[in-house]
């Protein structure tokens, strides 16, 4: 938590432009992690239903 707080503080200190970039880069990374998990679940369902057939 301390580490995350430090990163956020450092980001805000560097100005609005850098803050927009940093938050959108991390935001996108998290979105992609969520998308990956979604497809992982879909693949798992396919794998299980495939095995049953």
């Amino acid at each position: 938590m301390k580490f995350i707080t430090k990163i956020i503080n450092d980001t805000i200190e560097t100005g609005i432009g850098q803050s927009i970039i940093a938050f959108s880069a991390w935001g996108y990374a998290f979105i992609l992690v969520a998308v990956t998990l979604y497809y992982a679940v879909l693949s798992l369902i396919k794998l299980i239903s495939g095995n049953k057939n």
């Binding site: 990163i7 560097t14 432009g17 940093a22 959108s24 996108y28 998308v35 990956t36």
Partner: protein
């Protein structure tokens, strides 16, 4: 479509890498063990190259905008492309400001910073108006000269009897912790993560096999160059001075004295600083221009060149007041940008690609 040969691609990658590596003492946070950081980073950097080229190999005729839109679809892919545009523009700003400051501080003290930047961008815009082939050919001409200068500096500093290998001892003085700290995120991402920018240029070669081979060779050579350069810096100046010098490689050049005849070779340093800065800036700037033109369906990217150059020069004054500010925000910048964009996003893109393929979903694959 314009084409670049594998030699030109190799020279372009090497010039970008020299701009970001040779002049500085990368990994010096690990003190005398910095050379170990460089070796580990080189090996791990090959993993990054594998990751990037694996993604590229599925879409050899597309750049990062096309690849993300093919894998994620337009709704998710387009904003990601815009994030890349912002990041490359920001990095072009940082490198412009950095190299203009360095030239200002070291060689052209009385010249206004803006004048240096304008001259810099006149050359860059002229090259980019002529296209990627011209850029590749220039790299092909300049790279042998630059590498010859670097090798001759290595030879001359050894011949000047300035090297003391005992400066590298003791090894592992602080244990593994400082080495790991210096290795991630900076060591691996700088310079190896910067290869990410070549997603824009690999398609101009188009051959997956050539791109992979060329990129691996260029990065391996960068790793060797980086390690040798660091060992020379530390053994000739000691790690204390190396860690505080503004441009350590320039300080090494100043130490060269062969029989009091061959000395004061600072001019070589100027050439290296300028060439390094030129190529590093041009790669980020050109990538940003190409991404913007593709995102907004501008047929000729040349329309974007001048407005973006003006924006970069303006923003470099707003964002970065001086060189110490640049250095201060180097580490935070890696956590803010390169970790998500160069490490997490590509891993996720490759995973999503394989998972979607497993689920038989639309991927517009060009190369199965």
């Amino acid at each position: 479509m314009e084409k670049i040969s594998k030699n030109q691609l190799f020279c372009l990658i090497m010039m970008g890498q020299i701009g970001s590596t040779n002049l500085w003492a990368l990994g010096i946070e690990a003190k005398r063990d910095a050379w170990i950081v460089d070796i580990i980073s080189t090996i791990a950097g090959m993993g990054l190259v594998w990751l990037y080229t694996s993604i590229y190999s599925k879409y050899p005729e597309k750049n990062i905008v096309g690849i993300t839109q093919s894998i994620l679809g337009k709704t998710l892919g387009w904003p990601l492309g815009f994030v890349y545009f912002m990041i490359y523009t920001f990095n072009a700003t940082r490198t412009t400001s950095e190299f203009a400051d360095l030239i200002n501080v070291t060689f052209l003290q009385d010249t206004p910073n803006l004048v240096i930047q304008i001259i810099f961008y006149i050359a860059i815009i002229y090259v980019l108006f002529l296209g990627i082939e011209t850029l590749g050919r220039i790299a092909e001409i300049i790279f042998p000269v630059v590498i010859l200068l670097i090798i001759s500096i290595y030879i001359m500093i050894i011949a000047s009897k300035q090297i003391n290998l005992k400066e590298l001892l003791p090894v592992f003085q602080g244990g593994f912790k400082p080495i790991l700290k210096a290795f991630y995120p900076i060591g691996i991402n700088f310079p190896f993560g910067l290869v990410y920018v070549f997603f824009q240029f690999w398609k101009y070669n188009g051959s997956v096999k050539e791109v992979k081979k060329t990129t691996y060779w260029a990065l391996a050579l960068t790793g060797v160059n980086l390690t040798v350069s660091l060992i020379i810096m530390v053994t000739s100046m000691g790690f204390n001075y190396t860690s505080v010098a503004t441009i350590p490689f320039l300080e090494v050049i100043k130490l060269i004295s062969l029989g009091d005849i061959i000395t004061n070779l600072d001019a070589i340093g100027v050439i290296l600083v300028f060439m390094g800065g030129f190529y590093l800036t041009i790669l980020f700037y050109y990538s940003a221009v190409l991404i913007f033109a593709e995102l907004f369906h501008i047929k000729d990217y040349r329309w974007v060149l001048i407005p973006l150059a003006v924006f970069i020069m303006w923003y470099s004054k707003i964002y970065e007041p001086n060189y110490p500010f640049h250095v201060k925000y180097l580490v935070p910048q890696y956590w803010q940008q390169w970790v998500p964009v160069s490490n997490i996003v590509p891993i996720m893109l490759l995973l999503i690609f394989y998972l979607k393929r497993y689920c038989n979903m639309e991927l517009n694959i060009q190369n199965k």
